[in-house]
């Protein structure tokens, strides 16, 4: 516990150091604003209500993108994991598509879906799709051969083996994929807004850049970081909840 207190003091020390150096060297706020100025900007934009719509839009895009991407990735992972033929057929393409920089497709999506939320949600979903597909495939494929044999001995049907053995046993790997997807979803949503958003935190950064308002940009970084932390925490909590039975009795 005490190490946490030290971590907290380290943060304070860094902030104070930053403030002092900025003031002593007289660095322009355009290059690096002081922490107090950033906090002030953050407070005033929150109070004036300027930030809230942007926060909601980005949150909504993340939630929709995550749900779509993870859901489709999970289902595709199950289908590929269960059909040897499809897996062999498609695996080279899946590997190849990992390398494609999904964000580079952003401009194309704008052509297809127009500016605004839809194209950002599609980019986010696409980015979340792959870690889920990959981890679901791995998770349901690497099952202890002894447990497979047990289910064969008990004459379990294919569906029973899937739902009562493969998915529960692969769940830790699948949830690790969800955690990766959450981090990527934030990047996807913000960068998607850079490219094609009119609203949202990414679009707000671009707007602040247009006004050469570095202080506001820093304030927006803080908001984005905070949003990411909330999502990551939520992912960890849901993981703990879903894996509560798996964790039982396992020494950390």
């Amino acid at each position: 516990m005490s190490i946490r207190i030290y971590s907290f003091f380290l943060l304070i020390a860094l902030l104070v150091g930053w403030e002092v150096i900025c003031r002593l060297l007289g660095i322009s706020a355009l290059v690096i604003p002081t922490p107090t100025a950033v906090l002030e900007a953050l407070w005033s934009t929150l109070e004036s209500g300027y930030l809230w719509p942007h926060i909601w839009i980005t949150t909504a895009e993340m939630v929709l993108g995550l749900a779509l991407g993870c859901g489709i990735g999970f289902v595709c992972g199950i289908i590929l994991g269960e059909t040897e033929f499809l897996r062999r057929l498609l695996y080279p393409y899946i590997i190849a598509s990992q390398v494609v920089p999904k964000l580079a497709l952003g401009p194309l999506f704008i052509v297809w879906f127009g500016f605004g939320m839809t194209s950002t949600v599609v980019i986010t979903a696409l980015i979340c799709f792959f870690p889920l597909l990959e981890n679901t495939l791995t998770g349901i494929h690497h099952i202890d051969p002894q447990k497979r044999e047990l289910f064969r001995m008990l004459r379990a049907s294919r569906m029973q083996t899937l739902f009562r053995l493969k998915i529960p046993s692969g769940l830790p790997v699948i949830m690790a994929g969800v955690r990766v997807a959450v981090v990527l979803a934030l990047v996807g949503a913000v960068v998607g807004e850079f490219i094609g958003g009119r609203e949202g935190l990414g679009a707000a950064i671009i707007a602040a850049q247009g006004m050469m308002d570095s202080t506001l940009m820093f304030a927006l970084f803080i908001v984005i970081t905070f949003l990411g932390m909330i999502f990551y925490q939520a992912a960890i909590w849901s993981e703990r909840w879903l894996l509560r039975r798996h964790i039982k009795g396992k020494t950390q």
Partner: protein, 247 residues
């Protein structure tokens, strides 16, 4: 009449030499057969063939005059490793064979509790497998094999991870249960004394081949004292000599 018939069965793992070599074996209803042999001689492989988990490379298996081509509902199987599902509590692990077939009823829960009591785990029903010791896990696996009251029980060194006292208790419990339900048993072990104590017949396996079955004519039900009896020791010696190939 023979309940299990193994007819000239051989098995090779991916083109290697035969691990089970033209085995001929028949087991009658209600008999308790023990299979002993050195580590790696093919006991587990033969057991899995008999259970229908492996298809013999040549030869055939019959249970109750029907050819075995896949695992049968009549057979309860205890694997060499406990193989419990770590996300289910002990009771649900024991009830797995039933819950895969139909809805679990209150009666099944009572039965599971009884079986767990029998294997000495009455107070561990709500624990998860990883909260149990290795020996406790194997006892859960035994309870799981017994829950459907199979006509044929196949056990692969089920007591290997237990201390001598618990093992002796469970041996007696197993004998009692099988006597009561008229279960036919195929019991693999590498412990000669265990084989002689449990079995009506002890068959020695060496390098994939079966030797002549040795009938054990000791009084049934077994009294624990016979372990220290001279006839018992003579039988053990006979089995040992067969294993060494000097009988």
């Amino acid at each position: 009449m023979s309940f299990l018939t193994v007819n000239e069965a051989s098995y090779c793992y991916q083109g290697n030499e035969a691990v089970v070599d033209r085995v001929q074996w028949s087991i009658a209803q209600g008999e308790f057969h023990c299979l002993v042999g050195r580590s790696g001689c093919g006991k587990t492989t033969l057991l899995k063939i008999a259970a229908g988990l492996l298809q013999p490379t040549s030869g055939s298996i019959f249970i109750d005059d029907t050819q075995v081509v896949e695992p049968s509902d009549q057979v309860g199987f205890v694997f060499q490793a406990p193989t419990l599902l770590e996300w289910l509590p002990v009771t649900d692990n024991v009830l797995l064979p039933i819950s895969l077939k139909r809805r679990v009823t209150a009666k099944d829960y009572t039965r599971a509790a009884e079986l767990l009591e029998l294997v000495g785990l009455g107070s561990f029903t709500k624990r998860h497998p990883q909260e149990l010791s290795g020996g406790q896990q194997s006892r859960v696996a035994i309870a799981r094999a017994l829950i459907r009251e199979p006509a044929f029980l196949m056990l692969d060194e089920p007591f290997a991870a237990l201390d001598a006292i618990t093992r002796a208790e469970l041996q007696d419990d197993l004998l009692r249960l099988c006597e009561h339900q008229k279960t036919t048993v195929l019991f693999v072990t590498h412990d000669i004394a265990e084989a002689a104590y449990l079995g009506d017949f002890v068959t020695v396996m060496s390098q994939g081949e079966l030797q002549q079955a040795i009938p054990i004519d000791l009084a049934k039900p077994r009294a624990p004292e016979i372990r220290y009896d001279s006839t018992f020791n003579a039988l053990c010696l006979k089995i040992r000599k067969t294993m060494d190939g000097t009988a």
